[in-house]
C-alpha cells in the first residue's frame, strides 16, 4: 500500500525555521533542507506521511552529520595523559574539569591531577581547588603568573606522584585576542617539549547558549592549537546549540561531551541521535 511522499512548502519552511531557531547556521539549514528535499523525491512509503515522518528523516540526516568514530575521550596507552581545556570566557571550562575528573575517577579508575593554569582571573585557582576537593583528586597550582611555567611544574609533579591523567584549566580567552591565543599555543608547545608529543586531548569548551559566533571561535582556536574535540556546555538551558552541526561537519571536530548542569554529575557523552532529536523539542 505504498504511496508517494509529498511535502508542501509551508512544512519545509517550518522545518527550516525550527533549525534556525536552534542556532543552526542559515547556510547549514539550507544544505540540510536541500538534502532532505532531494532525498524525498521519488520516495514511497507505507507509513503515514505527517510531521513525525518528516522529522524522523531530518533527525536521521542530522545525526549522520554528527556521528563519527572518534567520539570517545582518548588516553595515552603507555604513560601520562595530558588534557588541555580551553575556550571563551565563562563557557564552563573550570566546572567541566571538575565533572570530567569525576567521570574519569569513577568510570575509568585512573589517578587524576587537575592543574590551575588560569593565573589571571580573580579566584580562578580557588574555584578549581574546590572542585578538586569535591572529587578527591590531586590539585596543582603555584605562585607563577605564567601558565606555561605552571604546566611545566605540574607535569614534573604528576610524574613524581604516579598521576595517570592531568587536566589543565586555562583562562578564558576570546579567539580574537592574538596575545592570548599565542599564550595558549605556548602552553601546548611546553607540553610537546616535555612529553615528546602534544596533549592527547585538547578540548574546546563551547557555551551551548551561543549563536553563530561559536563557529568563529572554533576557527580561531583551531588556528592556534591542535584541537582534538569539543565540549558543549549548558545544554540544560533552552538553547539547542545547532552550531554543533557545522562544528562537527565543516570544522571536522568530534563533539565528545556535553554539560547539562552545574553539579559534579552533569557531564554526559555526546550522543548524535539524542542531540538531533532534542533540536526539535
Amino acid at each position: 500500500n505504498r504511496k508517494k511522499v509529498v511535502i508542501d512548502d509551508n512544512t519545509v519552511n517550518e522545518l527550516q525555521e525550527a533549525l534556525i531557531l536552534s542556532d543552526v547556521s542559515f547556510n547549514s539549514s539550507e544544505r540540510i533542507i536541500k538534502k532532505f528535499k532531494d532525498g524525498l523525491k521519488n520516495q514511497e512509503t507505507e507509513e503515514e506521511v505527517n510531521n513525525e515522518f518528516f522529522l524522523g528523516i531530518l533527525q536521521k540526516e542530522i545525526s549522520a552529520m554528527l556521528d563519527r568514530d572518534d567520539l570517545n575521550i582518548n588516553f595515552e596507552p603507555g604513560g601520562l595523559s595530558v588534557f588541555i581545556i580551553s575556550g571563551v570566557n565563562g563557557s564552563g571550562k573550570t566546572t567541566t574539569i571538575g565533572k570530567l575528573a569525576n567521570l574519569i575517577v569513577s568510570e575509568i579508575g585512573k589517578k587524576v591531577m587537575i592543574v590551575a593554569a588560569d593565573t589571571f582571573r580573580a579566584a580562578a585557582i580557588s574555584q578549581l581547588e574546590v572542585w578538586a576537593k569535591r572529587v578527591g583528586v590531586e590539585f596543582f597550582s603555584n605562585e607563577s603568573k605564567d601558565p606555561s611555567s605552571v604546566v611545566y611544574s605540574a607535569i614534573e609533579e604528576a610524574e613524581k606522584k604516579d598521576v595517570e591523567v592531568i587536566i589543565i584549566d586555562t583562562a578564558g580567552r576570546l579567539g580574537t585576542n592574538n596575545d592570548l591565543m599565542m599564550e595558549l599555543s605556548k602552553i601546548e608547545n611546553v607540553i610537546k617539549k616535555q612529553m615528546g608529543k602534544g596533549p592527547i586531548e585538547n578540548l574546546l569548551v563551547l557555551d551551548g547558549t551561543s549563536g553563530q559566533n561559536a563557529l568563529s571561535q572554533i576557527e580561531k582556536f583551531k588556528k592556534s592549537i591542535n584541537l582534538t574535540g569539543i565540549v558543549i556546555t549548558k545544554l540544560d538551558s533552552t538553547s539547542k546549540a545547532g552550531f554543533a552541526i557545522s562544528a562537527s561537519y565543516d570544522y571536522d571536530l568530534p563533539i565528545k561531551l556535553i554539560g547539562v548542569g552545574e553539579t559534579l554529575h552533569d557531564l554526559l557523552p555526546f550522543v548524535p541521535d539524542d542531540f538531533s532529536k532534542a533540536l526539535f523539542d
Binding site: 570566557n89 565563562g90 564552563g92 580557588s126 576570546l174 549563536g211 549548558k234 540544560d236
Partner: protein, 292 residues
Amino acid sequence: KITDKITSSFKKLRGHSVITDKNIDEALKEIRLGLLEADVNYKVVKSLVDSIKEASVGKEVLKSVSPGEQFTKIFNDELIKILGSETEYLNIKVSPPAVIMMVGLQGSGKTTTAAKLSKYLKEKEKRNPCMVSADIYRPAAIEQLKILSNQVKVGFIENSSQDVIEICKNAFKSAYNQGYDTLIIDTAGRLQIDDSMIQELKSIKSEVTIHETLLIIDSMLGQEAINVAKTFNDEVGIEGIALTKLDGDARGGAALSAKFITNKPIKFYGSGEKMDALDIFHPDRMASRILG
C-alpha cells in the same frame, strides 16, 4: 558585511524612480541573512525586514545619493528605532543607598560587570558604592567579588548568612549604616526556566527595594536571547540591559532581540576583562556592529 551586500543588490535601483517590492527584494533577502548570521532572533528579523520594506516601498529614489546608501540609511534608521536613540542612565537618583542588582545566565559576566560598574560609579559619578555577593552556590564566587572590590577600591559587604534573602537585607542595612550611597548585589547565574531560582530573585525584590535590576547578556548569546530576556523581564522585572564581551567578534544580535522583546534600554557594554572596560551604550555604534 550587510552594507556591502545591500550596495551590490542595489545596483538594481539605478534608473528607477521609485523603490518597489521587486527592486529591493534581493536586498531584503541579504538583510535577512545578514541579521540571522548576526544572531538576531528569527522573529525579530522578520519584524525588522517588514518595517524596512514598509519604510522603503513607494519612496522616490533619491538622485543625490547612491541607491545603496539611501537604503542603508533606511535600514540603519529602523535598527536604531529598536535599539533606542538615546543613552538611558541607571535609575539611581534616589535616597541612598541606591540598590542595583545584577542578574542573568551563568557565565554572562555579572560579577565582572558589577565590579566594573562600581569603579565607574566611583570614578565617573563620584559616588561611594559597595558590593555584596548573593551567590552562595558557585565555588569561590564571594572571593571573586571580594578580590575585585579590592582591585577597584570600593566597599565590600561581608556575607552575614547562608540565606540569599538575609544576605541582601543585611547588606542593605550595612550599606546604609556605613554611609554608602550605592549597593550592587551580585547574584548567581541562573537559567530563565529554573523556577526556584527565578523565584529567588522575586523574593529578593519583595524584601529589598531594588532600584535598578540589570540583565547581563553575553554578546555571543544565540536565538534564545529573546526568551531569556522576556522571562527575566516578565518574571523578575528589569530596568536595563548590559552586554558583555564586545571585545570579541560576536555581532551581538542578541542585544537587538533583548531590546525588541523587553523594550528596556541597553545601558552599558563590557569590552574586556579589565576593570576599566565598561562603556556607556551607544545605539548607533551597535547598529553598525550588527550591520557588520
